[in-house]
C-alpha cells in the first residue's frame, strides 16, 4: 500500500480485523467445556457453598458439664448452658471422664462448676471454669464469648431475683451492627465471592489461553498476519471480558434471590467498578502469560499472585486490620483489596463516594498500567 491510509480506512480495518479475531476466540471459548465450567458452573457452586456451607457462626458446640456442686445456683448455671442454642451439653460425673472426652474430640469444651460454687457466690466471687480445645482457635474463641454470655445472663437474672441489683455489672453495653443487622456471614461472603469469580475468569483463564498460544507458537503465526499486537490483545480479551460479566450477573442475581443479600448501592456503579477490576485481572493474565510462556508455570504464578491474594489478602475472608503491619502494607499492592472494599461498600452500605472514588481510581490506574505493559510485552517479541 503506497498511498497513506486515511483515518477512516485505518479504523475500519482495525474494526474488521478485531471483529474477526473476536469471532474466532468466541468460537474457541464456546466449544471448550472448561469455559462454561469456570464461567457458569463455578460461580453457582461457590454461591451455594458460601451461602450455605461457610457459616462462621457457631452453634451446638458439644460441651461436657461437670457439676461438682449440686446447689441451686450450680444447677442454674448448668441449665444456662443446657438451654443455650449455642451449646449441646452432656453431663459428666468426674473430671477424668470429661478430660477423656475432650481428648477424644467428643466434646469441644468442659464447663466445670467447682464444689465451693454456692459458697463463693455468697461471698461475691464465684468462678466457673471453662476448659476448651484450642485446636480450632476461631471456634474456640467464639464459643468462649457465648459461654461468658450464658453465665453473665444467668448472673444478672439471679441478681434480679434475689433483689441484689448491685451485684450486676454497672454498665449496659448495647452492641449494634450496622449494614448487616441480621449478623449474617453470607452478607459479606457472598459479595466477596465476586472477586474470586472475576479473578479466576479474568486472570487465570486469560493467562492459560495466552500461554498456550505462546507454547504452541501460534502467536508467532498471528504476528505475520496484518493484525497488530493491540488488536490481537483486544480480540483475545473481549470474549473473556464478556464471560466475566456473565459471572458477575450470576453472582449478583444469585446473592439477591437465594440469600436476600441487599444491594444498597447503585447497580450501574457496581457494574462499572467490576469492569475496571476485570480489566485489571485481564491485564495481569496477559502480562503473566507473556512473561512465562508456559501454561504450567503461568497457572502457578497466576494462582500465587492473583487468586490467593484475592482470597486471603483482600479483606474478603480475613480483615487486613488483623494482619501484621508489613502484611497490611502488602495487601495494598493487590487490586483485589480495592475491589473487595468497593463490593462490600456497594452491597451493604450504599453509594459512599468517599470510598468509591479513591478505590475506583486506583483500579483504573492499575488497569491502564497493566494493559499498557501487556501491549508493550507483546510488541517487543515481534521485533
Amino acid at each position: 500500500m503506497s498511498a497513506p491510509r486515511t483515518m477512516a480506512g485505518g479504523l475500519a480495518g482495525l474494526l474488521r480485523r478485531t471483529r474477526a479475531l473476536i469471532r474466532k476466540e468466541t468460537r474457541q471459548l464456546l466449544r471448550d467445556f472448561s469455559s462454561i465450567a469456570i464461567g457458569i458452573v463455578m460461580p453457582v457452586t461457590l454461591l451455594v457453598l458460601f451461602g450455605y456451607g461457610i457459616n462462621l457462626d457457631v452453634r451446638n458446640v458439644p460441651v461436657a458439664v461437670l457439676m461438682e456442686d449440686d446447689s441451686a445456683p450450680a444447677r442454674g448455671v448448668a441449665a444456662a448452658f443446657e438451654l443455650s442454642p449455642y451449646f449441646s451439653t452432656q453431663r459428666v460425673r468426674t473430671m477424668n471422664d470429661a478430660e477423656r472426652m475432650l481428648m477424644a474430640g467428643d466434646v469441644r469444651a468442659i464447663v466445670r462448676i467447682p464444689s465451693d460454687f454456692a459458697r463463693s457466690i455468697d461471698l461475691g466471687a464465684a468462678d466457673v471454669q471453662l476448659i476448651i480445645n484450642g485446636a480450632d482457635a476461631n471456634t474456640a474463641r467464639i464459643s468462649l464469648g457465648y459461654a461468658q454470655g450464658a453465665v453473665a445472663t444467668w448472673a444478672a437474672k439471679e441478681a434480679e431475683r434475689t433483689g441484689n441489683a448491685g451485684a450486676t455489672g454497672g454498665i449496659a453495653v448495647e452492641p449494634r451492627l450496622w449494614f448487616n443487622e441480621a449478623n449474617d456471614s453470607s452478607y459479606f461472603l457472598v459479595p466477596g465471592l465476586i472477586v474470586l469469580v472475576m479473578t479466576l475468569i479474568g486472570a487465570l483463564l486469560t493467562a492459560l489461553v495466552m500461554a498456550r498460544e505462546w507454547e504452541r507458537g501460534t502467536f508467532e503465526a498471528l504476528f505475520v498476519t496484518p493484525v497488530r499486537s493491540a488488536e490481537i490483545l483486544l480480540g483475545k480479551t473481549v470474549p473473556y471480558f464478556v464471560l466475566g460479566l456473565i459471572g458477575l450477573a450470576l453472582c449478583v442475581v444469585g446473592s439477591k434471590l437465594l440469600f436476600g443479600v441487599p444491594l444498597r448501592g447503585s447497580l450501574v456503579i457496581l457494574t462499572f467498578v467490576s469492569m475496571l477490576y476485570l480489566l485489571v485481572a485481564l491485564g495481569l493474565g496477559l502480562v503473566i502469560s507473556s512473561a512465562t510462556k508456559s501454561q504450567f508455570v503461568a497457572s502457578q504464578v497466576t494462582v500465587l499472585v492473583t487468586f490467593l491474594p484475592a482470597m486471603m489478602l483482600s479483606g474478603f475472608m480475613y480483615d487486613p486490620r488483623s494482619m501484621p503491619l508489613a502484611v497490611q502494607a502488602i495487601t495494598y499492592v493487590f487490586p483485589a483489596r480495592y475491589f473487595v472494599t468497593l463490593l462490600q461498600t456497594l452491597f451493604l452500605s450504599g453509594n459512599n463516594w468517599s470510598v468509591i472514588l479513591p478505590n475506583a481510581a486506583v483500579l483504573a490506574g492499575m488497569a491502564a498500567a497493566l494493559l499498557a505493559l501487556a501491549v508493550r510485552l507483546t510488541r517487543k517479541r515481534i521485533a
Binding site: I131, I132, R141, G170, R176, L205, V303
Partner: protein, 372 residues
C-alpha cells in the same frame, strides 16, 4: 512383575525429569507452597490488634474519660476522632476510617453512681460482620472490666460470677496455630491435584501421550508412573510446609512424625486419585487446570479449614465425608497440636484408604476407557 516394575521406574524417572529440568517449573514446585504458607499464616487471623474507633462522648464526665482511657490503654483501640453528635461520627464509619462508634450516653456517670445500668452503645461496621463481632466483644470485655474496677474502688459489691478459661493445645487461642497445621494438607492437595491433572493433559496436548501408548506400557503402569512422582512432590511440599510451621512460626509439634506422614501418604493417594480422574476428563491443559479448580474450591470450603463442618447443612455434611481434605485437616491438627496417637486416628485413616480405593481404580478405568 519385575519387568513391569522396571518399566514403571523408567516412567517415574522421566516424569521427575519433566518437573525438574526446567528452572521455572522447578521453582514453581518449591516456592508456591512456602509462599502460600507464609501468606496464609500471616493473613488468616481473626486476632485483631488494632481497631480504629470514633468516640461520641455525650457525658463528658470523669467516669467517661476514665472509660476512654481504659479502652485506649488496651493498645487495641485507636481513636479516630471525638464527636459531640452521632451524626458527625457516622461518616467515619461509612468511609471505613473507624470500625466502631462508641457512644457514651448522657448521664453515664450519674447512672454509675446510682447503680442504674449506665448506657454505652458500641456500633460496628457490619460490612465484615466477623471482624466487627470480635471488635465488639473486645470492647465489651474492656468496658465490663472498667465497670467492675470502678465499682470496686467505690466500695460497691463486686460482680457475682466470673468465668475463668483455659484452652488446651493452643493456650493463647491463636488462629495461626490452627491454620498452619491444616495447611500441610491443603497446600499439598492444591499442588498435587493440579500437577497430576496437568501432567497427563500436557502429554495429550503435545501428542506424546500417543507415544506412551505405543510403548510397551499398560494403562495401569502409565497411571502408577504418573501417580508416584506426584506423591514424591507432594511429600516434599508437605515437609516444606511442616518446616515453615516448626522453624518459622515455631508452633510446637505435639505428636509423632510417623503418624503424620502415614496420614499424609494416604491423603496424597486419595488426592492424586482425584487428580488422575480429572486428567482423564481433560483434553488439554486449560481444561485440566480449570477442572482442578472447580473441584478444589469445594474441597477447601467443605473441609473445616475456614469454618467448622458441624455447622453445615446435612447435605453438605455428607459431601464433607467424601472429601479427603476433611480427614487430612483433622489428622494434621490432632497429630500436630493435640499429640493424637495412631489408634485415635484410625477411623480417619481408613476413610482415606476407602477414598483412594475408589478414586484410583476409577481413574485407571477412565484411563483405559478413554484410550479405547
Amino acid at each position: 512383575m519385575i519387568v513391569s516394575l522396571l518399566r514403571i521406574l523408567t516412567l517415574i524417572r522421566k516424569e521427575l525429569l519433566v518437573f525438574l529440568k526446567d528452572p521455572k517449573s522447578r521453582a514453581s514446585l518449591v516456592l508456591p507452597p512456602i509462599l502460600q504458607c507464609l501468606i496464609f499464616g500471616y493473613a488468616a487471623t481473626y486476632d485483631l490488634n488494632s481497631v480504629p474507633y470514633a468516640l461520641v462522648d455525650q457525658d463528658r464526665s470523669a467516669a467517661s474519660i476514665a472509660l476512654v482511657a481504659r479502652l485506649e490503654g488496651s493498645g487495641i483501640f485507636q481513636r479516630e476522632g471525638t464527636f459531640a453528635r452521632m451524626t458527625e461520627a457516622v461518616p467515619q464509619l461509612d468511609a471505613r476510617r473507624a470500625l466502631l462508634i462508641v457512644v457514651i450516653g448522657n448521664g453515664f456517670e450519674r447512672s454509675l453512681e446510682t447503680g442504674v445500668p449506665a448506657p454505652v452503645q458500641v456500633i460496628a461496621d457490619g460490612r465484615n460482620s466477623n471482624t466487627s463481632g470480635i471488635a465488639q466483644s473486645y470492647a465489651g470485655a474492656i468496658i465490663g472490666d472498667f465497670a467492675a474496677a470502678w465499682r470496686a474502688e467505690r466500695g460497691f459489691p463486686a460482680a457475682g460470677v466470673t468465668v475463668s478459661t483455659r484452652a488446651w493445645f493452643n493456650p493463647q487461642l491463636e488462629t495461626r496455630w490452627s491454620m498452619i497445621p491444616s495447611l500441610i494438607g491443603t497446600i499439598t492437595m492444591m499442588m498435587t491435584m493440579m500437577l497430576t491433572a496437568m501432567s497427563v493433559a500436557r502429554e495429550r496436548e503435545e501428542g506424546t501421550f500417543d507415544q506412551l501408548l505405543v510403548a510397551p506400557f499398560t494403562p495401569t503402569e502409565i497411571m502408577i508412573g504418573k501417580a508416584v512422582p506426584s506423591m514424591i512432590v507432594g511429600i516434599t511440599q508437605a515437609s516444606a510446609v511442616l518446616l515453615v510451621a516448626l522453624f518459622w512460626f515455631r508452633i510446637p509439634f505435639a505428636g509423632s512424625f510417623f503418624t503424620l506422614y502415614a496420614g499424609l501418604a494416604l491423603f496424597l493417594a486419595a488426592a492424586i486419585g482425584f487428580g488422575l480422574f480429572l486428567s482423564s476428563l481433560a483434553g488439554n491443559m486449560q481444561q485440566a487446570m480449570i477442572l482442578a479448580f472447580v473441584f478444589l474450591m469445594p474441597f477447601m470450603l467443605l473441609s473445616g479449614l475456614m469454618s467448622p463442618t458441624e455447622n453445615m447443612p446435612a447435605v453438605l455434611q455428607y459431601l464433607t465425608m467424601i472429601n479427603p481434605l476433611t480427614y487430612a485437616i483433622r489428622i494434621t491438627r490432632v497429630v500436630y497440636l493435640e499429640g493424637g496417637r495412631f489408634a485415635e486416628l484410625l477411623p480417619d485413616m481408613l476413610a482415606l484408604v476407602a477414598i483412594a480405593a475408589v478414586t484410583m481404580p476409577f481413574a485407571a478405568w477412565m484411563f483405559r476407557h478413554r484410550l479405547n
